[in-house]
């Protein structure tokens, strides 16, 4: 009767506080247990379906053409590799000549430069310009001005 009615509310606050305490501090071990991990080994059939899916295969390029100058292959939006390499080599030789002409760093003159090949004379347009001689025939792609 009245004895039971008195005892019941005395126990209520304790289990509530226990629940709050247990939620407040989840231990490190609990958070590790929630991490994602594979449940089963992926079979080779599943692996093959993923690896050989058309979006993973290499796509065939349709933008390859033939360079009209040298005949090598080139991509449409890119300079021809062979022509670029040959121009690069010639530029390097011209720069070596300039280096010999100047002799040291910070000696670049304030006038323009003209490159002349074998058997070419400076015209009246090239009056005040610095002249760099190259000991070979003029390459067909280097237009004279």
């Amino acid at each position: 009767g009245p004895a039971l009615a008195v005892q019941a509310p005395a126990f209520l606050p304790q289990p509530a506080s226990d629940i709050i305490d247990s939620i407040e501090a989840p231990s490190l071990l609990d958070s590790i247990l929630w991490m994602a991990a594979p449940k089963k080994r992926r079979t080779i059939e599943v692996n093959r379906c993923r690896r050989r899916n058309p979006n993973k295969l290499i796509k065939v390029k349709r933008n390859i053409d033939v360079c009209p100058e040298c005949g090598n292959l080139k991509q449409k939006h890119v300079l021809c590799g062979y022509c670029y390499a040959k121009v690069k080599a010639e530029t390097r030789m011209i720069r070596m000549e300039i280096h010999k002409n100047e002799g040291g760093p910070f000696n670049a003159p304030t006038v323009e430069t003209v490159v002349l090949y074998d058997g070419e004379k400076p015209t009246e347009k090239d009056e005040g310009k610095r002249i760099i001689e190259r000991a070979r025939k003029r390459p067909s792609w280097f237009v004279q001005n």
């Binding site: 690896r51 993973k56 295969l57 290499i58 065939v60 390029k61 390859i64 292959l73 991509q75």
Partner: protein, 208 residues
Amino acid sequence: LCCFLAGSSWVCGLLGWARPERWLASGSLFPLSCIHTSSSLQKFGKWEKKNRIVYPPQLPGEPRRPAEVYHCRREIKYSNDKMWYLAKLIKGMSIDEALAQLEFNDKKGAKVIKEVLLEAQEMAVRNHNVEFKSNLHIAESLTGRGRYVKRIRYHGKGMFGIMKITRCHYFVKLVEGPPPPPEPPRTGFDQAKEYVQQLRSRTLVNTL
């Protein structure tokens, strides 16, 4: 085969655990030394031997058998899986197309495969009686797993992993003639026709 093999690297693969040159003392005679050991050049695998088969002469009425060239490169330092994508790209193309695609591909294996194709083309023209070097197409292009080596990869905190240094082989078969037309993809209509055909060809078992 119990012939004593004297160590080229490809050969040591077969009996990696056994080192016959260490068993014999330095002064003793080499037994069975008269047998032609496989240390000259390298051991020929099955793909290299395919170039040696000779067909009997063809009868006058038969259609002309197209020329075939087999070529391969062994122990390329590249992954088998990654090389497979390049091999799949090239399958069934003509040789010019294949060389164009490989030239503008950025993968490491593309350079290797291009060299192999050029070598094979050269071999075909010189030794295998192929008239035009552009008239070849790639009938088969395969990759194989080479010999792997295990090494330790050091991580932080004293942890380590075992890494595999992978190598692969690449095999190619060039056949003379234009490339075969690609087969049309299977439509739903074809599948339905086949299904109906299957249903119609059913018979009653164990009856008259």
